[in-house]
Amino acid sequence: MANYLVHRLFHAITILIGISMLVFTFVELAPGDAIDALMPPETLATPEAKEAMRERLGLNDPAPLRYVQWLQRAVTGDLGYSLTSRRPVTDIIMARLPETLQLVGVAMLFSIVIGVSTGIVSAIKQYSWIDYLATFLSFFWLSIPGFFLGLLMIYIFAVKLNWFPVFGASTAGAKNPVLDRLHHLVLPSAVLGLELAAALTRYTRASLLEVLKEDYMRTARAKGLKEWVVIVRHGLKNALIPIITVVAFRMPYLISGAVVIETVFQWPGLGLLTLNAASQKDYPLVMALALAVTIVVVISSFIADVAYSIVDPRIRIK
């Protein structure tokens, strides 16, 4: 197991360095630089002032040198200062990361509970009205774009019914921060989670239907086991193996989906920050964000591997 972990760690580091080089190159290739965000041509800044600012931010050094300098500092944990806000990048990200993890975590939990249970019911009651309804709804959620669904939910549940807040993750001066936070989480996490829930419904249904046809299911029934034992112990356990892969592989989608959802709901997470940082060519921030997301994805795929080996002993032997 230790060997396996070291192997995985080596993999992760290689991926991180590769991603950081790619991101740096792309930011570098894009025309313009952070000076344009700080001093747009429409303002009255003189060319000298722009040049002084460029020099001060170290943007006049050659790109490869800046990458090496960045890497040297990054390995010591110093990710530098944001070019546009002049605040330490680490501070900015650490303030935002928990917000995104919370949103994505709740969305994932929501989608697993809703998606898997609907999928199970759909498979067991195949061709019933429940199955048809679930199929219709999952195609509906899969095809509707997240930003539109977000605005629709805001209109119905926040503006018209006034059940939930429209934006943000907290209310200034809220009496009960826990309830306030949960209240704010409902709409964005539901919108973010619905698409994955729909996908999971489809996958669970298909996977369980497959398993239900297997010989060992007939054997289990023939042993005289109760129907729910047959389905849960023999059916589900086998049907869930592909679901774990689906969930793990959906993690990056969920995080990129958060970019849109966070913008619509003004959720103060990494997504919203990424959008702003990229448009401002704030490369220290963009680099750090790419690293943060890569780390989250690497960790989640690692967790998926471990979970997989628990559910399916054959993988451990391999």
Partner: protein, 561 residues
Amino acid sequence: MRKEALRIDSLMADAVAGRLSRREVIKRAGALGLSAPLAAALIGVSEAGVSAQEGLTLSFDAGATQGGGGRPNAAAVEYSYIINGGSQFEINRMVDARLVTMSADLQEFVGDLAESWEVVDDVYTFTLRQNAVWHDGTPVTAKDVVFTINLLTDPATTSRWGSSFRNVVGYEEAQTAETPTSLSGVTAPDDYTVQIELARPDSGMLAGFMFINILPEHVLGTADRATITELPYWTTSERVGAGPFKFVQLVEGERVELVAHDQYHFGAPAIQNLNLLFFASAETSLAAFQQGANLAAPMSVNELELVQSIEGAEVISFPAGVGYIAYNVRQPELADKRVRQAMAYAIDKKTIAETLFQGYADAVYTEIPYVEWAQPDDANPYDYDPEMAMQLLEEAGWTGERTLGFWYYYTDPVTAAVMEAMQQYLAAVGIETELKFDDGSGVRLQEIEDQTWDMVYGSFGAQPSPANLTAVWGPPGEVTYGWQNEEFNAEMDAALATYDREEQAVHYQNAIRILNEEAPNVWLFNRQNLIALNTAALQNSVWGPGHIYYFNRANEWTVTE
């Protein structure tokens, strides 16, 4: 286990009751074996989670005055980049004080920290109010003003406002000095008098002060100037201003929380807590407005019907800036002024203003229509005349062989419609254009740098003083537009050299007459920015152009609960 749970319970209770700071909560949670994000998630405290707000509270969109078109940038820079100004003027407007500001209608200067001022023999003398105090209780004195000017003109800070003082005695020396050097022309004869001696006349300097927040010497005096903008100071409760509200905290990505400064020099604010909200999307801001969680939201004319249908809502407007077409006159097709004049005649500005802008714009022919005394009354209004346009094009030998790239960068649907209308008007007289939207990818900026661009639709923020025309059409204009005019420069210099309003008017009018005839830009619309204001809840508020420090009397604003 049971004991552990109890401790978590009591920790949560403390956090909820506001007895603990967030840092403290996370520290104690760590002691209980909880990770920081988990603790934060469990307890639900964000940066602001445990602050209690008592008394009258007002929350509104921090980008309210930035208008629909300016919105993405406004939200992008979430707090001010102080030394260089910043898009979130709403925050600085509330936290800091200036020497002088402008009335919201841009008609007159209003003293802020300065009670009065005069200019005699190229020396500006400002008399400060004696009742102004910083948020920490220290009196605001002339030394703070001297400190601020020296800080901004220090090359180490690379402030873009430093050049406002280029005509002050000692400015050049400070720029080239090895060690930080104070401007010898800026002095404080006593605690409440500031004198600024000029090396050459500059009647435009007063207007420069509208962009400059006065900073506290007793707090920032010892800070390293090269890294001063990196201090946590700017976005924490350490910040000390002299404006109506004190900085409480920045809630990352959500809002800035402010609290009343009871010793504010114009009187204690009626509102106790002020939350300036950040929105990345105008739709969300307006939805929050409908819900009542946001009392002022930027809006466009497309939302007029919606806002008017909301109970207690009112639409208010103020000058945003002048929409223009700017040209790269280095391009051979655009070098002839008759081509540019033809475009001015070809576009029916009045119809566009009445229809697409729904009346929230006027047809104009100059960059600063707000300053009436500087306007010549014989300028050409370039009223819609396609025949004239075609005649001018023919005289200029226009072939129409090349399709011109026509950039725009405002994201709102109104601008998109205006662009299409202009494209059609130009095509009708034989000028083919390709609309190019600048999505922020930097392609347009690259074209500007390479000098390969043709034309761009932009907007010049409402300016209260004609003095700033030099900054656009003087030597900097040569760099950006390839346009230079000695006669214009001479008139501007003459206007800046006199403090007599009537003499200034003569020269400014001459300068504007030259711009009007030469048409380095075609000026089109004096656009209005619109704000949806919940006047049922918020009273006495004053609004103006978001990019300058107008006097908003924030201490007199009040809300009904």
